[in-house]
């Protein structure tokens, strides 16, 4: 299978990744005293990764495995 196929770094996606990188660094530096802050930063980083994936308009969601 081909790899690096769908992670197309659009201008917006690249921006998200650039935001994500320092966010991840901040998360690792936040320490155990601020779990809420860490959780928010981790969530932001996850969502940035999701937004870096290019989707066609016609791609429908899969809500669960359909046999």
């Amino acid at each position: 299978m081909t790899s690096i196929r769908r992670v197309v770094l659009s201008r917006r996606g690249l921006g998200s990744l650039l935001i994500a990188a320092p966010a991840a660094t901040r998360a690792s530096q936040a320490g155990p005293n601020d779990p809420a802050g860490e959780a928010r930063i981790q969530l932001e980083a996850d969502l940035a990764k999701l937004r870096s994936v290019t989707l066609h308009r016609s791609t429908e969601p899969s809500f669960r495995f359909e046999a």
């Binding site: 155990p32 860490e38 981790q42 046999a67």
Partner: protein, 475 residues
Amino acid sequence: MPPLTEDAFFQTIPEWNEQLRAKSIRAQDLTQAFLDRLDRIGPRLNAVALMLAKDALQQAKTVDQDLKRDRFRGWLQGIPFGAKDILAVAGRKTQWGAPQFAEQEFKETAAVLRRLRRGGAILAAKLSMIELAGGGGYRSAGASVNGPCRNPWDLSRWAGGSSSGSAAAVAAGLAPFAIGSETSGSIITPCAFCGVTGLRPTYGLVSRAGAMALSWSMDKIGPIGRTAEDCGRILETIAGGDVDDPGSAKKSFRFFPQFAPKPAAIRAGYSRADIEQSADPVLRPALREAVDTFGALGVELVEVSLPDLPYTAIASTIIGAEAASVFEDLIGDGRIRQLIDPHQAAGLAAASEIRAVDYLRACRIRSLIRADFARLFSKVDVLISPACFWPAPPLDEPLDRAASVAGKRPAGGLRRLGPAGNLAGLPAITVPCGMAQGLPVGLMLVSRPFTENQILALAMGYQAKTDWHKRRPVL
């Protein structure tokens, strides 16, 4: 009956079945022996959530009456087992590993436990688990109302999670088999850490009615046993359609490994980089040998890799959003903060902020992942990868530490097969494949939906050539 020898506690399901049918042992005596062992060793491991001695002995008496009259009900008849405390037992405490639910009771028993009871299996104990199955993202082995579950191979190490007690109990010979659940890694990881065989069935094959919901679109219930054959026997009993589970695939499962393709007819996808670059160096010799063993069995090994997608982030978003909905009341009234691990509470609270458009984006990417797997499985029959990329961590070590170290290694190949396979609802089995620094190493096989016989048969072929699944800890 004379006391069981230490060896006997590690017998397989067919071995117990033969003795019970031959009436050389009574279900009552067998149940009492395992109850005693659970009582004696369970607390040392923090593996037990609730003993069910009275219920178990009462059921064992009924089973013995059936056996006496040659009323055979299947492979599991008369065999005691343990179940993850995520499953309800009517009128008994079901804590879900969380302090908020310490006194929780249900009126109905979980469907999977009812099926096992009909098959004559005897529920001896509820087994410990990570609080709320870890849906908020836990960092501590102690994130359980039952305390940190210790690894039977090294009591200073973690058993894995979230089906901690289920894997530890089977590894320690406290139960011949157990039931666990997996949303993303919760059967495969503890089984790999504890050196037992664990099967994650295809999404929808086993009813989740009566189990705590964490993520409706990803939760699965599956067996943990000594061997692949044990897991097949258990799955045959617990699988099947259920109108009470909206995710049910309404399919049954018959265990026919003899009709699965022979190893010489199987093409297996694997990635050498998983072993040589991604896995912790201490695991590599065992993993190399395991892959070579499949080659020696006649399996054709071909290099494959997953497309570069953020699988972990997708799984976290879907699980987070669904879990935040499941536990909306706890988040809303602040009870979520009673969780032992503050990262769990914070993770669930943060996940409640996930927007619908982001959840839908994750579910749309899941469609791409499913299509990718369909293409991959047009080229290979099975995927083989390390079940876990590092050994069981010390109990006092933050759980993200090993992942953080591993995250610095290259992540190509099948490195993300765990979350990817869970997102696509694929079946997987982990088998013990070696030891590293005194701790078990696991290898995972993954195949197309509803082809459990394929991975079970291949794992049986592997276990016929190796004896890692027969090793046991000294306790």
